[in-house]
């Protein structure tokens, strides 16, 4: 069931630790290895938007509170 939710990740707020990436159950997040933010860090982004289920695993594990989560209104 695609498009259950989506996340916004702050490019400058992300430190590229990767904790959100490994804890996403649908593997829709990734670090952007072809770009960096102003701190020279590869930031996380929603690589496969149609897989996000709005479970908030990424936002609870993110140390730097860089992730905002939205859920489709039923």
């Amino acid at each position: 069931m695609p498009f259950k939710g989506y996340v916004e990740i702050s490019v400058e707020g992300c430190k590229g630790c990767g904790l959100c990436v490994i804890h996403c159950p649908t593997e829709c997040l990734a670090l952007n290895m072809s770009d960096t933010n102003s701190y020279s860090l590869h930031y996380a982004y929603l690589k496969e938007p149609d897989k996000c289920i709005a479970c908030q695993n990424c936002s609870i594990i993110c140390p730097d509170a860089a992730i905002t989560v939205y859920k489709k209104i039923a």
């Binding site: 400058e12 936002s59 609870i60 594990i61 140390p63 509170a65 905002t68 989560v69 939205y70 859920k71």
Partner: protein
Amino acid sequence: MKEGYELIYKRPKTLLDKRMHYCPGCFHSTMHKLLMEVVEELDIQDRTVGICPVGCSVFAYDYMDVDMQEAAHGRAAAVATGIKRMLPDRIVFSYQGDGDLAAIGTAETLHACNRGENFTFIFINNGIYGMTGGQMAPTTLENQKTSTSPYGRNSATAGMPMKMAEIVATFEKVYYVERVSCNTPANTRKARKAIKKSFEYQMQSRGTSFIEVASNCPSGWKCTPIESLDWIKDQVLPYYPLGVLKDLGKEEVK
């Protein structure tokens, strides 16, 4: 926001919109976030007071938008005692690393617990002195390599890693003790619940709450943030198991 969607999680307003100086993946950041989420949820921003330690989190007051007081190294429990006794309607927490709470500040910690002071300890146990370059702490695991135990902690000379949560749970006036971690989403949710429970107990003047966080220090452990989670799971948690060690509130309900 896209049309047809609703916001379900955003950074708490009580966490200032600043980049924290902590290393990538460090649970100091996670715990600041969780504390401020709970302060926002309980709507206690104007009556919460935090005590900062010496250690990596010495600048915690730059990020958490509540009243905060810096303490000398290890003395946060004494400062928290003073503030809570003078301002008993405030929700007071001390925020301390293991070098702070369990080494230089052991006496202050134990005596505050023995007196059952009505505040919350947030004890960030990363098994190392993070700020000063990863030296061995009383909590360093047996055989763990640090900059001052390059061959690993030798328990014959350094003793065994101190289990502070277990120790303080023996004090009669300590009301609630739990060990938590932020190594998985489920455990992080439990850590958040523990903070909330401790603040609620404090509002009911139940006595001391002690929350130990099996924390990480990717920089001091010389590993990546993701590898630090493996170290916690494989090495830290077998010795420092998670869970509630004491909850007199729960026993009362029974």
